[in-house]
């Protein structure tokens, strides 16, 4: 440790000797801006490319890729977007994704809010072990669950059903949701409910009228998290929704890839359309997310 100190002190005094302090600050600032811009460009490039490829004719993508903005605008066309709707079942898949997400969100928010409340308000032995169980189930990966789910669902007739895939998504999103709501309810002081009780409200009413409104930020965070899980999911949807008309967007987009021909334009158009809901949701509700992350701790 002491050696590295001496090295860094050497470097410091060396650099310090060359430039006065003010200018060193400015050099640092300039370097920072450079790195920031570089990072933004690198991070944004794939998305830029997605948009570009979705509005270019096929040859431009495959034969002579054009990436410079002026060239892109010159060859601008929205054929890919049109074909995605006209030649394929795109609306159906979008609808499926949305419905499945809604079912998953409603169930997750409901179940986790109730559970979070119960866990903080009622004492019972084995709390810690219950917590460990929740956290352990958070670690189960989709592939591990989807493989047996396929067989169970098939026996129960839940394959190719909204319920079936929603429940699968809930398996992934519920543990973290419960954890978040549990921790969140811990920050809601019981004093508020006690005040309601003193005013004559029953436990149920204090839950409904006091605890739930105060838990709104947590619920929003859970909703966003569940949406992300559901909208994003490829593994479970591919396995549990073999019928193409019942598929959600992620597995459906795979079907654009055929033996001899990859419909890149349509894939990129579909990708762009698929990316819009997550953006919208996050930008409408970013504060609640940060709140949820802070209390969630994971």
């Amino acid at each position: 440790m002491v050696f590295s100190d001496r090295v860094s002190n050497r470097i410091q005094s060396f650099v310090g000797g060359i430039l006065p302090y003010q200018e060193r600050l400015q050099v640092r600032k300039a370097a920072l801006y450079f790195v920031v811009i570089l990072t933004c460009v690198v991070m944004m490039f794939p998305m830029y490319w997605m948009l570009v490829a979705s509005v270019q004719p096929y040859d431009h993508i495959v034969q002579t890729p054009t990436w410079f903005p002026t060239q892109v605008i010159a060859a601008f066309q929205i054929d890919a977007y049109i074909s995605v709707f006209a030649d394929r079942n795109f609306e159906r898949w979008y609808l499926n994704s949305v419905l499945v997400a809604i079912i998953a969100i409603v169930s997750s928010v409901g179940a986790s809010t109730l559970a979070g409340y119960g866990l903080t308000r009622v004492q019972f032995r084995g709390r810690k072990n219950f917590a460990r169980l929740i956290l352990f189930s958070y670690m189960f990966p989709p592939i591990l669950l989807a493989f047996p789910q396929y067989q169970i669902w098939r026996r129960l007739g839940l394959l190719n059903s909204y319920i079936g895939i929603s429940v699968a998504h809930i398996a992934i999103s519920l543990p973290f949701s419960m954890w978040m709501m549990w921790k969140f309810f811990q920050t809601v002081p019981i004093a508020y409910e006690e005040a309601a009780w003193m005013n004559g409200a029953s436990q149920f009413h204090s839950f409904k009228d006091v605890a739930i409104p105060m838990a709104k930020p947590g619920m929003v965070a859970v909703a966003i998290f569940t949406f992300a899980v559901s909208w994003n999911d490829f593994t479970m949807a591919t396995i549990l929704l073999p019928d193409s008309s019942m598929q959600t967007l992620p597995p459906a987009v795979q079907t654009f890839v055929q033996q001899n021909y990859v419909y890149w334009g349509q894939i990129m158009a579909a990708s762009t359309l698929m990316s819009i809901p997550p953006f919208l949701l996050v930008y409408k509700l970013q504060e609640s997310i940060l709140e949820g992350f802070r209390t969630g701790g994971l």
Partner: protein, 318 residues
């Protein structure tokens, strides 16, 4: 209380209370309250999560195939076969490299980006918004876009590299066995490094500015400040991420399947891909069950490390 309601009540022999009242009463009873509140979530988890796990573990003890309707008990034979098969262990090592290689890349990029974004500069809000975007893109899209960009013939990456003059021939990023897995790691990290950035940034923003200013007044330069102030504060987040994200990436299926489906050859067949192939392409369910069982075993080890090392349950226990 109209006579109609009375009649209906009598019909179903429900006590003379409304449903709301019934729920109210239940809420009062502590035991019923627990059941009512924690119940739905527990039931969902039992059905959606624990039942399938138990099924899979059970399945591993039988010789079963999708083509044969009956199962034959074989005990641990499946496990023996699986653990003796080189294909299994190859897949295991690939999962390990992919998993922990991904996390390593994500940590370096993620923490670095977080440090950068924690500074104050003009446009920092815009920069943060832009840099958070990759995390919002669905994984399928990430896979597809990178597949296009890395294409051996017309991928834009190759085009740019050749144009700049760094390489003479386009590189088959996803089609040559040696570099396919590292390429997947980078593509995977593009999205998931940002998750780490978000976590670390949240932690960084809670470090009071005075800590740094006090160090400055005491003579500390930027390297010292990072080592003595920043690092101790983010160590916890980093270790936790290493463990949990490592496990998650070890078990990742989607992005690999989308970009290479385990190819070229078997060079990117990680354990999740292996299970998929075993179950849905080879229809050897018993074997797949055994592999799932080993996967569950690894999860168990990871969980033990997690609970012993971090004691997360402490946060909610009272």
């Amino acid at each position: 209380m109209s006579t109609l309601q009375d009649t209906v009540n009598n019909w179903f022999r429900i006590p003379k209370k409304s449903w709301g009242g019934l729920i109210e009463t239940l809420f009062e009873d502590k035991k019923a309250l627990i059941g009512l509140t924690v119940g739905p979530a527990t039931l969902l988890m039992l059905f959606a999560s624990f039942l399938p796990i138990l099924w899979a573990l059970n399945l591993g003890l039988y010789d079963a195939g999708a083509l044969s309707p009956t199962w034959t008990w074989v005990g641990i034979q499946n496990y023996v076969d699986v653990l003796n098969s080189p294909a299994y262990w190859d897949a295991f090592w690939r999962s390990l490299s992919f998993g922990f290689g991904s996390v390593a890349v994500q940590l370096v990029v993620g923490v670095g980006t977080a440090l950068m974004l924690s500074r104050e500069f003009r446009g920092v809000v815009l920069a943060r918004a832009m840099i958070f975007l990759p995390y919002l893109i669905p994984t399928v899209v990430v896979g597809m876009v990178f597949r296009l960009m890395l294409n051996g013939n017309y991928g834009i990456i190759n085009v740019l590299l050749v144009d700049i003059g760094l390489i003479n021939q386009p590189i088959g990023w996803l089609t040559s066995g040696a570099i396919a897995l590292p390429t997947l790691i980078v593509a995977n990290s593009w999205k998931f490094a940002i998750f780490i950035t978000i976590m670390v940034l949240a932690r960084l923003q809670s470090i009071p500015n005075e800590f740094y200013e006090a160090a400055t007044m005491n003579g500390a330069g930027p390297i010292r400040k990072f080592r003595d102030i920043t690092l101790p504060q983010i160590k916890g987040v980093i270790l936790l991420t290493l463990l949990l994200r490592g496990i998650w990436m070890f078990n990742k299926f989607d992005i690999i399947y989308i970009m290479t489906t385990g190819g070229p050859g078997q060079s990117t067949t990680t354990l999740p891909i292996y299970i998929f192939e075993m179950a849905f392409l080879n229809f050897r369910l018993g074997q797949a069950g055994a592999i799932a069982g080993t996967l569950f075993g690894f999860l168990g080890v990871g969980a033990i490390v997690y609970f012993v090392g971090f004691n997360p349950a402490e946060e909610v226990g009272r």
